[in-house]
Protein backbone atom coordinates (compact mmCIF):
# COMPACT_ATOMS: atom_id res chain seq x y z
CA UNK A 1 0.00 0.00 0.00
CA UNK A 2 1.15 3.52 -0.81
CA UNK A 3 2.63 5.11 2.32
CA UNK A 4 0.42 8.21 1.92
CA UNK A 5 -2.73 6.06 2.06
CA UNK A 6 -1.30 4.20 5.03
CA UNK A 7 -0.58 7.44 6.87
CA UNK A 8 -4.10 8.78 6.52
CA UNK A 9 -5.63 5.43 7.41
CA UNK A 10 -3.79 5.47 10.72
CA UNK A 11 -3.87 9.18 11.43
CA UNK A 12 -6.89 11.37 10.80
CA UNK A 13 -5.78 14.60 12.41
CA UNK A 14 -2.86 16.93 13.02
CA UNK A 15 -0.83 15.46 10.18
CA UNK A 16 2.26 17.64 9.83
CA UNK A 17 3.86 17.81 6.41
CA UNK A 18 7.02 19.80 5.77
CA UNK A 19 8.29 21.21 2.47
CA UNK A 20 11.89 22.03 1.73
CA UNK A 21 13.79 22.73 -1.49
CA UNK A 22 16.32 20.09 -2.46
CA UNK A 23 19.81 21.59 -2.72
CA UNK A 24 19.06 24.33 -0.21
CA UNK A 25 20.68 25.52 2.02
CA UNK A 26 23.56 23.38 0.68
CA UNK A 27 23.76 20.96 -2.21
CA UNK A 28 24.09 17.89 -0.02
CA UNK A 29 21.72 18.75 2.84
CA UNK A 30 18.82 16.76 1.30
CA UNK A 31 19.26 13.46 3.13
CA UNK A 32 20.11 15.01 6.50
CA UNK A 33 17.02 17.21 6.36
CA UNK A 34 14.78 14.24 5.58
CA UNK A 35 16.30 12.08 8.34
CA UNK A 36 16.06 14.81 10.96
CA UNK A 37 12.47 15.67 10.04
CA UNK A 38 11.51 12.00 10.37
CA UNK A 39 13.28 11.75 13.74
CA UNK A 40 11.35 14.80 14.93
CA UNK A 41 8.08 13.04 14.20
CA UNK A 42 7.02 14.86 11.06
CA UNK A 43 4.37 12.78 9.26
CA UNK A 44 5.17 13.50 5.62
CA UNK A 45 7.83 15.35 3.62
CA UNK A 46 7.59 17.28 0.38
CA UNK A 47 10.91 17.49 -1.37
CA UNK A 48 11.01 20.49 -3.70
CA UNK A 49 12.57 20.06 -7.13
CA UNK A 50 14.02 23.52 -7.83
CA UNK A 51 12.94 25.35 -11.00
CA UNK A 52 14.24 28.52 -12.61
CA UNK A 53 10.76 30.07 -12.91
CA UNK A 54 8.58 29.12 -9.95
CA UNK A 55 5.51 31.23 -10.82
CA UNK A 56 3.29 29.92 -8.02
CA UNK A 57 5.87 30.64 -5.30
CA UNK A 58 6.61 33.65 -3.16
CA UNK A 59 9.98 35.26 -2.42
CA UNK A 60 11.24 32.66 0.10
CA UNK A 61 10.85 29.63 -2.18
CA UNK A 62 11.97 31.65 -5.21
CA UNK A 63 15.17 32.35 -3.33
CA UNK A 64 15.69 28.80 -2.08
CA UNK A 65 15.11 27.47 -5.61
CA UNK A 66 17.67 29.85 -7.06
CA UNK A 67 20.19 28.94 -4.33
CA UNK A 68 19.62 25.25 -5.02
CA UNK A 69 20.17 25.71 -8.76
CA UNK A 70 23.26 27.82 -8.11
CA UNK A 71 24.50 25.01 -5.85
CA UNK A 72 24.16 22.62 -8.79
CA UNK A 73 20.95 20.77 -7.93
CA UNK A 74 19.08 18.97 -10.71
CA UNK A 75 16.38 16.30 -10.82
CA UNK A 76 18.95 13.70 -11.83
CA UNK A 77 21.19 14.57 -8.90
CA UNK A 78 18.22 14.59 -6.52
CA UNK A 79 17.35 11.03 -7.52
CA UNK A 80 20.99 10.09 -6.89
CA UNK A 81 20.87 11.61 -3.42
CA UNK A 82 17.64 9.79 -2.61
CA UNK A 83 18.81 6.41 -3.88
CA UNK A 84 19.07 4.80 -0.43
CA UNK A 85 16.57 7.00 1.41
CA UNK A 86 14.25 4.08 2.19
CA UNK A 87 17.00 2.58 4.36
CA UNK A 88 16.72 5.73 6.48
CA UNK A 89 13.07 6.76 6.75
CA UNK A 90 9.66 5.17 6.40
CA UNK A 91 7.29 8.18 6.32
CA UNK A 92 5.67 9.19 3.01
CA UNK A 93 7.87 11.22 0.68
CA UNK A 94 6.44 13.44 -2.05
CA UNK A 95 8.30 15.28 -4.80
CA UNK A 96 7.01 18.77 -5.52
CA UNK A 97 8.03 20.89 -8.47
CA UNK A 98 7.14 22.38 -11.81
CA UNK A 99 6.35 20.33 -14.86
CA UNK A 100 9.22 21.22 -17.19
CA UNK A 101 12.09 19.46 -15.38
CA UNK A 102 9.87 16.36 -15.13
CA UNK A 103 9.00 16.58 -18.85
CA UNK A 104 12.66 16.84 -19.79
CA UNK A 105 13.49 13.85 -17.58
CA UNK A 106 10.58 11.99 -19.18
CA UNK A 107 7.31 11.45 -17.33
CA UNK A 108 7.51 7.65 -17.63
CA UNK A 109 11.11 7.58 -16.49
CA UNK A 110 10.24 9.95 -13.63
CA UNK A 111 7.46 7.70 -12.36
CA UNK A 112 9.61 4.59 -12.64
CA UNK A 113 12.45 6.23 -10.77
CA UNK A 114 10.06 7.38 -8.02
CA UNK A 115 8.76 3.84 -7.62
CA UNK A 116 12.28 2.40 -7.59
CA UNK A 117 13.43 4.79 -4.85
CA UNK A 118 10.25 4.68 -2.80
CA UNK A 119 8.75 8.09 -3.50
CA UNK A 120 5.01 7.96 -2.86
CA UNK A 121 3.60 10.92 -4.72
CA UNK A 122 4.20 14.05 -6.72
CA UNK A 123 2.76 17.57 -6.71
CA UNK A 124 3.16 19.44 -10.01
CA UNK A 125 1.18 22.68 -9.74
CA UNK A 126 1.38 23.52 -13.46
CA UNK A 127 0.13 20.12 -14.61
CA UNK A 128 -3.63 20.65 -14.78
CA UNK A 129 -6.22 17.94 -14.32
CA UNK A 130 -7.31 17.58 -17.97
CA UNK A 131 -3.82 17.24 -19.41
CA UNK A 132 -2.85 14.83 -16.61
CA UNK A 133 -5.82 12.61 -17.36
CA UNK A 134 -5.23 12.55 -21.09
CA UNK A 135 -1.50 12.19 -21.24
CA UNK A 136 0.12 11.09 -18.01
CA UNK A 137 -2.33 9.34 -15.70
CA UNK A 138 -1.36 5.87 -16.90
CA UNK A 139 2.34 6.45 -16.24
CA UNK A 140 1.63 7.46 -12.65
CA UNK A 141 -0.90 4.70 -11.98
CA UNK A 142 1.27 1.94 -13.40
CA UNK A 143 4.00 2.82 -10.92
CA UNK A 144 1.64 3.46 -8.00
CA UNK A 145 2.69 7.10 -7.68
CA UNK A 146 -0.01 9.47 -6.43
CA UNK A 147 -0.38 12.74 -8.30
CA UNK A 148 -1.75 15.18 -5.76
CA UNK A 149 -3.90 18.09 -6.91
CA UNK A 150 -4.25 21.52 -5.40
CA UNK A 151 -7.49 23.44 -4.93
CA UNK A 152 -7.86 27.09 -3.95
CA UNK A 153 -10.41 29.43 -2.33
CA UNK A 154 -11.69 30.26 -5.85
CA UNK A 155 -12.22 26.61 -6.73
CA UNK A 156 -15.95 25.94 -7.08
CA UNK A 157 -17.74 23.16 -5.18
CA UNK A 158 -18.21 21.23 -8.42
CA UNK A 159 -14.54 21.49 -9.30
CA UNK A 160 -13.58 20.58 -5.71
CA UNK A 161 -15.56 17.36 -6.02
CA UNK A 162 -13.93 16.58 -9.37
CA UNK A 163 -10.46 17.12 -7.92
CA UNK A 164 -11.47 15.02 -4.91
CA UNK A 165 -12.22 12.14 -7.30
CA UNK A 166 -9.03 12.51 -9.31
CA UNK A 167 -6.38 13.45 -6.78
CA UNK A 168 -4.14 10.73 -5.39
CA UNK A 169 -3.66 10.19 -1.64
CA UNK A 170 -4.96 13.52 -0.45
CA UNK A 171 -6.17 16.88 -1.65
CA UNK A 172 -3.88 19.86 -1.18
CA UNK A 173 -6.07 22.71 0.02
CA UNK A 174 -4.41 26.00 -0.80
CA UNK A 175 -5.40 28.24 2.11
CA UNK A 176 -5.14 31.61 0.45
CA UNK A 177 -5.67 33.28 -2.91
CA UNK A 178 -1.96 33.73 -3.19
CA UNK A 179 1.45 32.41 -4.07
CA UNK A 180 3.33 30.59 -1.30
CA UNK A 181 4.67 32.48 1.70
CA UNK A 182 4.22 32.68 5.42
CA UNK A 183 1.52 34.96 6.80
CA UNK A 184 0.53 35.86 10.30
CA UNK A 185 -2.98 34.52 10.54
CA UNK A 186 -6.14 33.65 8.64
CA UNK A 187 -8.58 36.19 7.30
CA UNK A 188 -12.34 35.95 7.39
CA UNK A 189 -12.67 34.77 3.76
CA UNK A 190 -10.29 31.91 4.49
CA UNK A 191 -12.29 30.90 7.54
CA UNK A 192 -15.46 30.77 5.44
CA UNK A 193 -13.65 28.83 2.74
CA UNK A 194 -12.38 26.23 5.20
CA UNK A 195 -15.92 25.76 6.49
CA UNK A 196 -17.37 25.53 2.97
CA UNK A 197 -14.96 22.75 2.05
CA UNK A 198 -15.39 20.92 5.32
CA UNK A 199 -19.14 20.81 4.65
CA UNK A 200 -18.59 19.20 1.24
CA UNK A 201 -17.76 15.92 3.00
CA UNK A 202 -15.14 14.99 0.44
CA UNK A 203 -13.79 11.46 0.26
CA UNK A 204 -10.06 12.20 0.29
CA UNK A 205 -8.09 13.44 3.27
CA UNK A 206 -7.38 17.18 3.07
CA UNK A 207 -4.18 18.95 3.97
CA UNK A 208 -4.05 22.74 4.14
CA UNK A 209 -1.02 24.61 2.90
CA UNK A 210 0.14 28.18 2.02
CA UNK A 211 0.50 30.65 4.86
CA UNK A 212 1.00 28.12 7.69
CA UNK A 213 3.99 29.18 9.74
CA UNK A 214 3.42 28.88 13.49
CA UNK A 215 1.96 26.55 16.10
CA UNK A 216 -1.18 28.70 16.09
CA UNK A 217 -1.78 28.65 12.35
CA UNK A 218 -0.95 24.95 12.20
CA UNK A 219 -3.46 24.06 14.89
CA UNK A 220 -6.05 26.39 13.42
CA UNK A 221 -5.72 24.74 9.99
CA UNK A 222 -5.92 21.29 11.55
CA UNK A 223 -9.39 22.08 12.89
CA UNK A 224 -10.66 22.11 9.29
CA UNK A 225 -8.56 19.39 7.68
CA UNK A 226 -6.56 16.28 8.41
CA UNK A 227 -3.35 18.21 8.60
CA UNK A 228 -1.30 21.07 7.28
CA UNK A 229 1.80 21.75 5.22
CA UNK A 230 4.53 24.18 6.18
CA UNK A 231 6.88 25.38 3.45
CA UNK A 232 8.22 28.92 3.35
CA UNK A 233 8.45 29.28 7.13
CA UNK A 234 10.54 26.10 7.36
CA UNK A 235 12.76 27.12 4.42
CA UNK A 236 13.24 30.43 6.18
CA UNK A 237 14.21 28.66 9.41
CA UNK A 238 16.89 26.74 7.52
CA UNK A 239 18.50 30.04 6.57
CA UNK A 240 19.05 31.10 10.20
CA UNK A 241 22.27 30.64 12.21
CA UNK A 242 23.15 27.27 13.75
CA UNK A 243 23.67 23.66 12.75
CA UNK A 244 21.19 22.13 10.31
CA UNK A 245 20.04 19.62 12.90
CA UNK A 246 19.41 22.24 15.59
CA UNK A 247 17.52 24.51 13.23
CA UNK A 248 15.23 21.70 12.17
CA UNK A 249 14.70 20.47 15.76
CA UNK A 250 13.98 23.96 17.06
CA UNK A 251 11.50 24.72 14.32
CA UNK A 252 9.55 21.45 14.45
CA UNK A 253 9.43 21.56 18.26
CA UNK A 254 8.03 25.09 18.08
CA UNK A 255 5.11 23.72 16.04
CA UNK A 256 4.59 20.48 17.89
CA UNK A 257 5.33 21.51 21.50
Amino acid sequence: MNRIDQLFRNKKENVLSIYFTAGHPTLNSTVEIIKTLAQEGVDMIEIGIPFSDPVADGPVIQRSSQTALDNGMSLKLLFEQLRYIRKEVSIPLVLMGYLNPVLQYGVDAFCKKCAEIGIDGAILPDLPLDIFQEEYKTSFEQQGIHLIFLATPQTSDVRYRELDCQSGGFLYMVAASSITGAKTGFEEYQQKYFERIKDLNLSLPRVIGFGISTKDTFEHACRYANGAIIGSAFVNALEQEGSLKEKIQNYIRSIRS
Partner: protein, 396 residues
Protein backbone atom coordinates in the same frame (compact mmCIF):
# COMPACT_ATOMS: atom_id res chain seq x y z
CA UNK B 1 -3.21 21.67 -43.09
CA UNK B 2 -4.81 23.65 -40.32
CA UNK B 3 -2.48 26.15 -38.70
CA UNK B 4 -5.07 27.51 -36.28
CA UNK B 5 -5.62 26.50 -32.69
CA UNK B 6 -7.78 23.41 -32.07
CA UNK B 7 -10.61 23.09 -29.55
CA UNK B 8 -8.27 22.04 -26.78
CA UNK B 9 -6.03 25.04 -27.31
CA UNK B 10 -3.21 23.33 -29.19
CA UNK B 11 -1.38 24.17 -32.40
CA UNK B 12 -0.19 20.68 -33.31
CA UNK B 13 1.76 19.55 -30.25
CA UNK B 14 2.22 23.11 -28.95
CA UNK B 15 0.03 25.33 -26.79
CA UNK B 16 -2.47 24.20 -24.16
CA UNK B 17 -3.17 25.68 -20.75
CA UNK B 18 -0.64 24.34 -18.23
CA UNK B 19 -2.01 26.48 -15.45
CA UNK B 20 -1.84 26.19 -11.69
CA UNK B 21 -5.28 25.54 -10.21
CA UNK B 22 -5.30 29.09 -8.81
CA UNK B 23 -5.60 30.43 -12.38
CA UNK B 24 -8.30 27.96 -13.41
CA UNK B 25 -11.41 30.10 -12.77
CA UNK B 26 -10.03 33.06 -14.75
CA UNK B 27 -8.69 31.00 -17.63
CA UNK B 28 -11.80 28.86 -17.80
CA UNK B 29 -13.97 31.98 -17.95
CA UNK B 30 -11.81 33.49 -20.68
CA UNK B 31 -11.75 30.24 -22.69
CA UNK B 32 -15.49 29.90 -22.60
CA UNK B 33 -16.28 33.53 -23.37
CA UNK B 34 -13.61 35.12 -25.57
CA UNK B 35 -15.02 34.06 -28.93
CA UNK B 36 -18.58 35.03 -28.07
CA UNK B 37 -17.43 38.43 -26.88
CA UNK B 38 -15.14 39.05 -29.84
CA UNK B 39 -17.74 37.96 -32.36
CA UNK B 40 -20.53 40.07 -30.88
CA UNK B 41 -21.66 43.04 -32.95
CA UNK B 42 -21.17 45.49 -30.08
CA UNK B 43 -17.56 44.40 -29.58
CA UNK B 44 -16.74 44.53 -33.27
CA UNK B 45 -18.29 47.98 -33.62
CA UNK B 46 -16.43 49.48 -30.67
CA UNK B 47 -13.14 47.73 -31.51
CA UNK B 48 -13.20 48.90 -35.12
CA UNK B 49 -14.15 52.44 -34.19
CA UNK B 50 -11.32 52.68 -31.68
CA UNK B 51 -8.84 51.21 -34.15
CA UNK B 52 -9.88 53.83 -36.70
CA UNK B 53 -10.36 56.95 -34.58
CA UNK B 54 -8.00 56.34 -31.67
CA UNK B 55 -5.22 54.14 -33.04
CA UNK B 56 -5.27 55.69 -36.51
CA UNK B 57 -5.89 52.55 -38.55
CA UNK B 58 -5.58 51.43 -41.22
CA UNK B 59 -1.84 51.77 -40.95
CA UNK B 60 -0.33 52.59 -44.36
CA UNK B 61 1.15 49.98 -46.65
CA UNK B 62 3.97 52.02 -48.07
CA UNK B 63 5.91 51.25 -51.26
CA UNK B 64 9.55 51.76 -50.28
CA UNK B 65 11.13 52.99 -53.52
CA UNK B 66 14.75 53.29 -52.44
CA UNK B 67 14.77 49.99 -50.56
CA UNK B 68 13.18 48.37 -53.61
CA UNK B 69 15.89 49.77 -55.87
CA UNK B 70 18.62 48.60 -53.56
CA UNK B 71 17.35 45.05 -53.16
CA UNK B 72 15.83 44.53 -56.60
CA UNK B 73 12.29 43.66 -55.54
CA UNK B 74 9.03 45.45 -54.80
CA UNK B 75 9.28 46.14 -51.11
CA UNK B 76 6.31 47.35 -49.12
CA UNK B 77 6.38 48.40 -45.49
CA UNK B 78 3.41 47.80 -43.22
CA UNK B 79 3.58 50.84 -40.98
CA UNK B 80 2.56 49.60 -37.52
CA UNK B 81 5.09 52.11 -36.22
CA UNK B 82 2.61 54.85 -37.10
CA UNK B 83 -0.04 53.54 -34.71
CA UNK B 84 -0.87 55.52 -31.60
CA UNK B 85 1.77 54.64 -28.95
CA UNK B 86 4.22 53.65 -31.66
CA UNK B 87 3.80 49.95 -32.26
CA UNK B 88 1.42 47.11 -33.12
CA UNK B 89 0.91 46.39 -29.41
CA UNK B 90 -2.10 48.71 -29.16
CA UNK B 91 -4.18 46.50 -31.51
CA UNK B 92 -4.15 43.84 -28.82
CA UNK B 93 -4.61 46.06 -25.78
CA UNK B 94 -7.63 47.85 -27.27
CA UNK B 95 -9.29 44.48 -27.84
CA UNK B 96 -8.38 43.07 -24.43
CA UNK B 97 -9.52 46.11 -22.48
CA UNK B 98 -12.95 45.74 -24.11
CA UNK B 99 -12.99 42.05 -23.19
CA UNK B 100 -11.89 42.85 -19.63
CA UNK B 101 -14.69 45.38 -19.28
CA UNK B 102 -17.17 42.81 -20.56
CA UNK B 103 -15.90 40.35 -17.93
CA UNK B 104 -16.46 42.97 -15.23
CA UNK B 105 -12.80 43.32 -14.30
CA UNK B 106 -11.71 46.52 -12.57
CA UNK B 107 -7.94 46.12 -12.46
CA UNK B 108 -5.47 45.38 -15.26
CA UNK B 109 -2.02 43.83 -15.05
CA UNK B 110 0.53 43.37 -17.83
CA UNK B 111 4.12 42.31 -18.41
CA UNK B 112 6.42 44.30 -20.64
CA UNK B 113 9.90 43.91 -22.15
CA UNK B 114 10.75 46.93 -24.26
CA UNK B 115 7.90 48.82 -22.65
CA UNK B 116 5.79 49.01 -25.82
CA UNK B 117 3.15 46.63 -24.49
CA UNK B 118 3.30 48.35 -21.12
CA UNK B 119 2.68 51.73 -22.72
CA UNK B 120 -0.10 50.33 -24.91
CA UNK B 121 -1.74 48.81 -21.83
CA UNK B 122 -1.33 51.93 -19.72
CA UNK B 123 -2.86 53.89 -22.59
CA UNK B 124 -6.05 51.86 -22.91
CA UNK B 125 -6.41 51.78 -19.11
CA UNK B 126 -6.27 55.57 -19.07
CA UNK B 127 -8.78 55.60 -21.92
CA UNK B 128 -11.21 53.43 -19.95
CA UNK B 129 -10.40 54.73 -16.48
CA UNK B 130 -9.22 51.36 -15.17
CA UNK B 131 -6.39 50.80 -12.69
CA UNK B 132 -3.19 49.52 -14.33
CA UNK B 133 -0.13 47.71 -12.93
CA UNK B 134 2.77 46.85 -15.25
CA UNK B 135 5.53 44.38 -14.40
CA UNK B 136 8.88 45.07 -16.01
CA UNK B 137 12.28 43.45 -15.51
CA UNK B 138 14.59 45.76 -13.57
CA UNK B 139 17.19 45.65 -16.37
CA UNK B 140 14.55 46.71 -18.89
CA UNK B 141 13.38 49.49 -16.56
CA UNK B 142 16.93 50.83 -16.81
CA UNK B 143 17.42 50.36 -20.56
CA UNK B 144 13.95 51.57 -21.64
CA UNK B 145 13.64 54.58 -19.33
CA UNK B 146 11.49 56.76 -21.64
CA UNK B 147 8.78 54.11 -21.81
CA UNK B 148 8.78 53.76 -18.02
CA UNK B 149 8.12 57.47 -17.73
CA UNK B 150 5.39 57.30 -20.37
CA UNK B 151 3.62 54.55 -18.43
CA UNK B 152 3.83 56.58 -15.24
CA UNK B 153 2.52 59.70 -17.00
CA UNK B 154 -0.40 57.58 -18.21
CA UNK B 155 -1.20 56.71 -14.61
CA UNK B 156 0.14 53.17 -14.46
CA UNK B 157 2.11 51.71 -11.60
CA UNK B 158 5.36 50.16 -12.88
CA UNK B 159 6.79 47.38 -10.71
CA UNK B 160 10.45 46.47 -11.41
CA UNK B 161 11.06 42.71 -11.16
CA UNK B 162 14.40 41.85 -9.62
CA UNK B 163 14.50 38.08 -10.14
CA UNK B 164 16.40 36.12 -12.81
CA UNK B 165 17.87 38.11 -15.68
CA UNK B 166 15.48 40.98 -14.83
CA UNK B 167 13.98 40.96 -18.32
CA UNK B 168 10.75 39.91 -20.06
CA UNK B 169 10.60 36.35 -18.69
CA UNK B 170 10.88 37.66 -15.14
CA UNK B 171 8.29 40.36 -15.80
CA UNK B 172 5.92 37.60 -16.96
CA UNK B 173 6.60 35.63 -13.75
CA UNK B 174 5.75 38.78 -11.80
CA UNK B 175 2.48 39.33 -13.63
CA UNK B 176 1.43 35.69 -13.22
CA UNK B 177 2.12 35.83 -9.48
CA UNK B 178 0.03 38.98 -9.26
CA UNK B 179 -2.87 37.25 -11.01
CA UNK B 180 -2.67 34.31 -8.61
CA UNK B 181 -2.76 36.81 -5.73
CA UNK B 182 -5.65 38.79 -7.26
CA UNK B 183 -7.94 36.23 -8.83
CA UNK B 184 -11.25 38.06 -8.71
CA UNK B 185 -11.07 41.68 -9.89
CA UNK B 186 -8.06 41.49 -12.22
CA UNK B 187 -7.60 40.79 -15.94
CA UNK B 188 -4.14 39.99 -17.21
CA UNK B 189 -3.50 41.62 -20.61
CA UNK B 190 -0.88 39.26 -22.01
CA UNK B 191 1.14 41.17 -24.60
CA UNK B 192 2.10 38.47 -27.04
CA UNK B 193 0.88 35.20 -28.54
CA UNK B 194 2.16 33.33 -25.49
CA UNK B 195 0.72 32.07 -22.21
CA UNK B 196 -2.12 29.62 -21.62
CA UNK B 197 -4.90 29.03 -24.13
CA UNK B 198 -6.83 31.14 -25.13
CA UNK B 199 -4.22 33.92 -25.06
CA UNK B 200 -2.18 32.86 -28.12
CA UNK B 201 -5.34 32.64 -30.23
CA UNK B 202 -6.99 35.68 -28.68
CA UNK B 203 -3.96 37.91 -29.26
CA UNK B 204 -3.39 36.52 -32.79
CA UNK B 205 -7.01 37.32 -33.69
CA UNK B 206 -6.70 40.88 -32.37
CA UNK B 207 -3.43 41.38 -34.28
CA UNK B 208 -4.79 39.77 -37.45
CA UNK B 209 -6.02 43.19 -38.52
CA UNK B 210 -2.46 43.69 -39.82
CA UNK B 211 -2.69 41.00 -42.51
CA UNK B 212 -6.36 41.76 -43.16
CA UNK B 213 -5.34 45.29 -44.16
CA UNK B 214 -2.29 44.12 -46.11
CA UNK B 215 -4.58 42.05 -48.34
CA UNK B 216 -6.83 44.88 -49.48
CA UNK B 217 -4.09 47.48 -49.50
CA UNK B 218 -1.89 45.32 -51.71
CA UNK B 219 -4.86 44.72 -53.98
CA UNK B 220 -5.18 48.44 -54.59
CA UNK B 221 -1.40 48.87 -55.12
CA UNK B 222 -0.65 45.81 -57.18
CA UNK B 223 -3.99 44.30 -58.19
CA UNK B 224 -3.38 41.20 -56.10
CA UNK B 225 -3.98 40.43 -52.44
CA UNK B 226 -1.08 38.10 -51.82
CA UNK B 227 2.58 39.09 -51.69
CA UNK B 228 5.42 36.64 -52.32
CA UNK B 229 6.98 37.25 -48.92
CA UNK B 230 5.86 38.51 -45.53
CA UNK B 231 8.70 39.24 -43.12
CA UNK B 232 8.29 40.05 -39.41
CA UNK B 233 10.38 39.86 -36.25
CA UNK B 234 9.50 37.32 -33.55
CA UNK B 235 9.99 37.51 -29.79
CA UNK B 236 6.80 35.97 -28.41
CA UNK B 237 5.60 36.62 -31.92
CA UNK B 238 2.48 38.78 -31.89
CA UNK B 239 3.30 41.17 -34.74
CA UNK B 240 4.39 38.22 -36.88
CA UNK B 241 1.22 36.32 -35.93
CA UNK B 242 -0.84 39.31 -37.04
CA UNK B 243 1.14 39.78 -40.26
CA UNK B 244 1.00 36.06 -41.15
CA UNK B 245 -2.57 35.36 -40.01
CA UNK B 246 -4.56 35.81 -43.23
CA UNK B 247 -1.82 34.26 -45.36
CA UNK B 248 -1.41 31.02 -43.40
CA UNK B 249 -3.62 29.11 -45.80
CA UNK B 250 -2.05 30.64 -48.92
CA UNK B 251 0.95 28.37 -49.41
CA UNK B 252 2.42 30.57 -52.15
CA UNK B 253 3.02 33.37 -49.65
CA UNK B 254 6.37 32.71 -48.04
CA UNK B 255 6.42 33.66 -44.37
CA UNK B 256 9.70 34.58 -42.70
CA UNK B 257 10.06 35.26 -38.98
CA UNK B 258 13.26 36.64 -37.52
CA UNK B 259 14.51 35.66 -34.10
CA UNK B 260 17.06 37.65 -32.15
CA UNK B 261 20.39 35.83 -32.32
CA UNK B 262 22.06 38.32 -29.95
CA UNK B 263 25.80 37.79 -30.37
CA UNK B 264 25.09 34.68 -32.46
CA UNK B 265 22.76 31.67 -32.29
CA UNK B 266 25.85 29.50 -31.71
CA UNK B 267 26.86 31.52 -28.62
CA UNK B 268 25.27 31.50 -25.14
CA UNK B 269 24.36 35.18 -25.64
CA UNK B 270 21.29 34.62 -27.77
CA UNK B 271 17.49 34.68 -27.77
CA UNK B 272 17.05 32.48 -30.87
CA UNK B 273 14.55 30.04 -29.37
CA UNK B 274 13.74 27.97 -32.46
CA UNK B 275 17.38 27.70 -33.47
CA UNK B 276 18.54 26.54 -30.03
CA UNK B 277 15.49 25.31 -28.07
CA UNK B 278 13.57 22.13 -27.33
CA UNK B 279 9.89 21.58 -26.52
CA UNK B 280 8.92 22.29 -22.92
CA UNK B 281 6.43 24.09 -20.69
CA UNK B 282 6.90 27.67 -19.48
CA UNK B 283 4.36 30.36 -18.63
CA UNK B 284 1.52 27.88 -18.93
CA UNK B 285 2.08 26.77 -22.50
CA UNK B 286 3.99 24.06 -24.27
CA UNK B 287 6.30 25.48 -26.89
CA UNK B 288 9.91 25.61 -27.94
CA UNK B 289 12.11 26.83 -25.08
CA UNK B 290 15.72 27.69 -24.44
CA UNK B 291 16.63 25.34 -21.59
CA UNK B 292 19.35 23.14 -20.20
CA UNK B 293 19.28 19.35 -19.94
CA UNK B 294 17.57 19.54 -16.53
CA UNK B 295 14.70 21.63 -17.94
CA UNK B 296 15.85 24.87 -16.32
CA UNK B 297 15.15 27.87 -18.50
CA UNK B 298 18.25 29.49 -19.97
CA UNK B 299 18.61 33.22 -19.62
CA UNK B 300 18.29 34.79 -23.06
CA UNK B 301 20.18 37.75 -24.46
CA UNK B 302 19.36 40.28 -27.16
CA UNK B 303 20.14 43.96 -27.68
CA UNK B 304 16.42 44.33 -28.20
CA UNK B 305 14.39 44.13 -24.99
CA UNK B 306 11.25 43.12 -26.89
CA UNK B 307 12.85 39.97 -28.34
CA UNK B 308 14.75 39.02 -25.18
CA UNK B 309 12.59 36.01 -24.30
CA UNK B 310 13.57 32.31 -23.98
CA UNK B 311 10.31 31.01 -25.50
CA UNK B 312 8.11 31.66 -28.52
CA UNK B 313 4.39 31.54 -29.16
CA UNK B 314 3.06 28.00 -29.75
CA UNK B 315 1.62 29.05 -33.11
CA UNK B 316 5.13 29.86 -34.34
CA UNK B 317 6.56 26.65 -32.87
CA UNK B 318 4.00 24.80 -34.97
CA UNK B 319 4.61 26.86 -38.13
CA UNK B 320 8.30 26.11 -37.66
CA UNK B 321 7.78 22.43 -37.08
CA UNK B 322 5.41 22.01 -40.04
CA UNK B 323 7.68 24.10 -42.25
CA UNK B 324 4.87 26.54 -43.10
CA UNK B 325 7.03 29.47 -42.01
CA UNK B 326 10.77 29.89 -42.05
CA UNK B 327 12.64 31.45 -39.12
CA UNK B 328 16.00 33.16 -39.40
CA UNK B 329 18.40 34.20 -36.63
CA UNK B 330 19.50 37.83 -36.85
CA UNK B 331 22.40 39.12 -34.74
CA UNK B 332 22.52 42.42 -32.83
CA UNK B 333 24.98 43.77 -35.36
CA UNK B 334 22.89 42.83 -38.40
CA UNK B 335 19.83 44.41 -36.78
CA UNK B 336 21.71 47.62 -36.00
CA UNK B 337 23.04 47.83 -39.55
CA UNK B 338 19.52 47.33 -40.88
CA UNK B 339 18.15 50.06 -38.60
CA UNK B 340 20.68 52.61 -39.85
CA UNK B 341 20.12 51.57 -43.47
CA UNK B 342 16.35 51.98 -43.20
CA UNK B 343 16.81 55.39 -41.57
CA UNK B 344 19.07 56.64 -44.35
CA UNK B 345 17.21 55.11 -47.29
CA UNK B 346 13.61 55.69 -46.28
CA UNK B 347 13.66 58.21 -43.45
CA UNK B 348 12.17 55.70 -41.03
CA UNK B 349 13.90 54.97 -37.72
CA UNK B 350 12.58 51.54 -36.71
CA UNK B 351 12.40 49.92 -33.30
CA UNK B 352 15.32 47.57 -32.69
CA UNK B 353 12.86 44.67 -32.77
CA UNK B 354 11.57 45.63 -36.23
CA UNK B 355 15.13 46.15 -37.47
CA UNK B 356 15.63 42.38 -37.11
CA UNK B 357 13.06 41.89 -39.89
CA UNK B 358 14.84 44.30 -42.22
CA UNK B 359 18.12 42.40 -41.86
CA UNK B 360 16.55 39.65 -43.98
CA UNK B 361 16.69 41.95 -47.03
CA UNK B 362 20.49 41.75 -46.94
CA UNK B 363 20.52 37.98 -46.65
CA UNK B 364 17.97 36.96 -49.27
CA UNK B 365 18.06 37.21 -53.04
CA UNK B 366 14.75 38.29 -54.54
CA UNK B 367 13.43 38.33 -58.09
CA UNK B 368 12.64 41.79 -59.49
CA UNK B 369 8.92 41.00 -59.69
CA UNK B 370 8.75 39.65 -56.10
CA UNK B 371 6.46 41.55 -53.78
CA UNK B 372 7.91 41.63 -50.28
CA UNK B 373 6.02 43.01 -47.28
CA UNK B 374 8.08 43.85 -44.20
CA UNK B 375 6.19 44.60 -41.00
CA UNK B 376 7.54 47.69 -39.24
CA UNK B 377 6.23 46.61 -35.85
CA UNK B 378 7.34 49.72 -34.00
CA UNK B 379 9.22 52.98 -34.15
CA UNK B 380 12.67 53.64 -32.83
CA UNK B 381 12.10 56.51 -30.39
CA UNK B 382 12.48 54.21 -27.38
CA UNK B 383 15.80 52.90 -28.75
CA UNK B 384 17.46 56.26 -29.37
CA UNK B 385 19.93 55.77 -26.53
CA UNK B 386 21.17 52.52 -28.07
CA UNK B 387 21.41 54.14 -31.50
CA UNK B 388 23.21 57.17 -30.04
CA UNK B 389 25.74 54.88 -28.34
CA UNK B 390 26.38 53.11 -31.65
CA UNK B 391 26.91 56.44 -33.45
CA UNK B 392 29.32 57.61 -30.74
CA UNK B 393 31.34 54.42 -31.07
CA UNK B 394 31.38 54.87 -34.85
CA UNK B 395 32.83 58.37 -34.44
CA UNK B 396 35.60 57.32 -32.10
Amino acid sequence: MDYQVNKKGFYGEFGGAYIPEAMYPNIEELQSRYLDIMQSESFKKEFNELLRDYVGRPSPLYYARRLSERYGAKIYLKREDLNHTGSHKINNTIGQILIARQLGKTRIIAETGAGQHGVATATVCALMGIKCVVYMGALDVARQAPNVLRMKMLGAEVIPVESGNKTLKDATNGAMRDWINNPVDTHYIVGSVIGPHPYPDLVARLQSVISEEIRWQLKSHEGREEPDYVIACVGGGSNAAGAFYHFLDSPKVRLIGTEAAGLGADTPETAATLATGRPGVLHSCRSMLMQNEDGQITEPYSISAGLDYPGIGPMHANLFKTGRAEYMSITDQDALDAAFRLSLLEGIIPALESAHAFAVLEKRKFNPEDIVVVNVSGRGDKDMQTYIDVMKKGNE
